[in-house]
């Protein structure tokens, strides 16, 4: 077997490597990214121009489409981390992410502003506001998690509750006021820290990725959530408590929501409950799907999900560049979803395999001989 494999590789190294690449889960987001990059290269190479300018405060800042993409994709990438885990363990998606961000953002402003909607100075240190926001978001995450894990409600239905109520809760937290923070240091987290040319959300997203990479490396979270997602009963027999694992994934998503919500309010130093992070849950779920992860749970690839998030922002920014109407952007995303869903359907996969065998009958036969 190994011999024949080697033979195949030596005989046709390009095809062999290609086959391996296609089987890799990273293939889908990479291919999508490549298509977008090629399209932009052909249509207008200036898309990739990055320039170093002076900001209005006199500090150097990088600007260009690519910077815009990695900047705006930050929240999406952070949320994709949590959504991947939730998807893996519970076999469903949390659709309350956008509403939960409204709550998280509202909490941040409530702590910083107190009851005064136009404070001249902050009522609490920013770090305190952030910690409170993380705790509140994790509680709401746990609420979703309990409904899913212990009451065995379909994730989409369970999170529909918060999806519907979240924005009203967010408005209620700030007494229906729209607070505005004039303190410039609060804006650093969503824009630029003076003197650093890259937008801060990029660093926050990178920190989240490092943290999740360490967690996945040094804990059994990956193994546990995958086994619970594949078969909760057998993992239970093997000593894993599926309910706790599901609950933990929802709480982690809650923490991701808190970070994303914090960035969102920092970007504008204010909030608009009914439109902040509107429909972001769909983009996040799309990122997970684009990463080639099965939306029915089980095995997952975190890198692919995060890459999916950047691909989606790449697509959005590309569409903005070509002056596509903002209303129509969701239609383009829908096309991507259709292609993905069709490609991952078992029937289509089977047909594709048959087609591959017809074109390259050699590979299968040789293996049989060996």
């Amino acid at each position: 077997m190994t011999v024949s494999d080697n033979k195949l590789k030596t005989k046709n190294p390009v095809l062999g490597a290609l086959g391996k690449l296609v089987q890799n889960q990273l293939f889908i987001p990479l291919a999508a990214l490549l298509v977008l990059v090629l399209f932009n290269l052909i249509a207008d190479p200036s898309f990739f121009k990055i320039s170093l300018d002076q900001s209005s405060a006199g500090y150097p800042v990088l600007s260009g489409y690519l910077i815009t993409i990695i900047d705006n994709a930050s929240e999406l990438a952070i949320l994709a981390i949590g959504m991947t885990l939730v998807t893996s363990a519970s076999g469903g998606q949390d659709i309350s992410v956008g509403s939960a961000i409204a709550i998280a953002g509202s909490v941040v402003l409530r702590v910083l502003c107190g009851t005064d909607s136009r404070p001249t100075e902050l009522k609490a240190p920013i770090i305190v506001a952030f910690i409170v926001c993380v705790i509140v978001s994790m509680i709401f995450g746990a609420f979703n998690g309990v409904l899913v894990a212990y009451f065995k409600i379909q994730p989409m239905v369970a999170t529909l509750i918060l999806y519907t109520a979240g924005r009203s809760i967010a408005a209620w937290i700030n007494n229906n006021e729209l607070p505005i923070i004039s303190e410039p240091s609060f804006g650093y987290y969503g824009n630029f820290i003076p003197g650093i040319p890259l937008p801060t959300p990029v660093f926050i997203a990178a920190a989240c990725m490092i943290i999740i990479a360490l967690i996945l490396k040094f804990t059994n979270l990956r193994l546990y959530s995958q086994s619970v997602g594949i078969n909760p009963y057998s993992s239970r027999l093997n000593g894993i408590n599926p309910q706790v694992v599901k609950l933990i994934t929802f709480i982690i998503l809650g923490a991701c929501v808190a970070v994303a919500g914090f960035i969102k309010v920092s970007r504008l130093s204010t909030i608009n409950y009914s439109v902040v992070a509107k429909d972001i849950e769909m983009d996040v779920i799309l990122a997970v799907a684009l990463g080639g992860n099965a939306l029915s749970g089980g095995k997952f690839n975190m890198t692919a999900s995060i890459m999916g998030a950047y691909v989606i922002q790449f697509l959005t920014t590309t569409l903005f560049k070509f002056k596509v109407n903002a209303n129509a952007i969701s239609a383009y995303k829908a096309v991507v979803v259709i292609i993905l869903v069709v490609l991952s359907a078992p029937i289509v996969r089977e047909k594709l395999m048959q087609l591959k065998k017809k074109i390259m009958p050699g590979s299968g036969v040789r293996k049989e001989v060996a």
């Binding site: 815009t68 136009r118 408005a171 729209l178 204010t270 439109v275």
Partner: protein
């Protein structure tokens, strides 16, 4: 276990129905001299305008003023129509509507007329026969847009390269404010639209749109945002890219709605113009209900503020 769950569920259902029954009974048993009004509005969290509008409604239609008011909120036309049908079933005396969209209201207004319910439109007009409603108290969005565009024209720039950020497409605010600008652009060779895009009243989307224009390297000197939130998002993108804006600077910033914070931006010279959209219709409606309508369409008084002439007194009086 399953049986128990069923009993609990049945109990919950029965309790909720009983509660609903109570609510109805309470509604029916209230003092009959109160005027029952059903108010259909957009989500009060949509914008500062709506928050002020909703607060004004709640302060006016109180029991002390002789009203028994019920409220329904939605940004979607179909949900609003469903709410109107519910109010008709509840036999309100007046139906006050701020429609999310301009079309699709004929059927439900005919039902209201058949049930003897008087309809008063506020803030937004709809495409329906005038006989179907008592009066409509509106802002003239086209006039607001015209005022802003006239002001812009009076600035005497040699060339107008405008980024036009639109509200939710099809809303009367969008149609009115867009119309005035588009007429001007079509009529004058030195007026160009660098970008015309809807941000659906959303500051973040507006920021992305302006960011995209900046990244593309297109030249522009005017931002015409159809509300304050979107103007704020646009300005955020300008700040990021070190493009100066405001009085005597590179880019003229125009917003609408006169939020207090926006007027303060004007006062500080960071923005140039803000068009008022008067959210206080409740007193007009109160007057019509108590004294009868004298005209079909009541157009409210509205102002436009220029950063060069605005005063702190204006901010305090007109900021919402």
């Amino acid at each position: 276990m399953k049986k128990f769950a069923k009993i609990v569920l049945a109990g919950a259902l029965a309790a909720s129905m009983a509660l609903a029954g109570c609510a109805c009974a309470a509604g029916g048993g209230a003092k009959s001299d109160l005027i029952k009004v059903g108010i259909i509005n957009n989500d009060p969290n949509e914008s500062g305008y709506r928050t002020a509008n909703d607060r004004d409604m709640k302060n006016t239609f109180t029991e002390a003023n002789g009203y028994q008011a019920s409220f329904a909120y939605s940004l979607k036309n179909d949900e609003q129509i469903a709410a109107a049908q519910k109010f008709i079933q509840d036999e309100v005396d007046y139906l006050l509507i701020s429609a999310a969209g301009t079309s699709g209201w004929d059927g439900v207004l005919q039902q209201a007329q058949a049930a003897g319910i008087k309809v008063i439109l506020f803030d937004r007009t709809i495409d329906a026969d005038e006989s179907l409603y008592e009066a409509s108290i509106v802002s003239d969005m086209a006039a607001e847009g015209q005022k802003a565009v006239d002001w812009l024209a009076s600035q005497g720039l040699s060339e107008y390269n405008v980024i036009h950020i639109q509200g939710v497409m099809g809303s009367s605010a969008q149609i009115g404010r867009t119309g005035a600008l588009n007429d001007m652009v079509n009529a004058n060779a030195n007026w160009n639209l660098v970008e015309e895009q809807t941000a659906e009243w959303n500051a973040e989307t507006a920021q992305q749109i302006v960011q995209s224009v900046i990244d593309r390297g297109d030249k522009f000197n005017v931002i015409y945002a159809e509300n304050d939130d979107m103007a704020k998002g646009a300005v955020q993108a300008l700040d990021k890219a070190n493009i100066s804006h405001g009085v005597g600077k590179d880019v003229i910033v125009i917003g609408f709605d006169c939020n207090k914070w926006a007027l303060e931006e004007l006062l500080a010279g960071n923005w140039n113009y803000d068009g008022q959209c008067n959210p206080f219709q409740a007193s007009y409606i109160d007057n019509i209900i108590k004294n009868g309508a004298t005209q079909k369409v009541v157009i409210m008084d509205e102002k436009g503020f220029d950063a060069a002439t605005i005063t702190q007194a204006d901010v305090d009086q007109y900021g919402i």
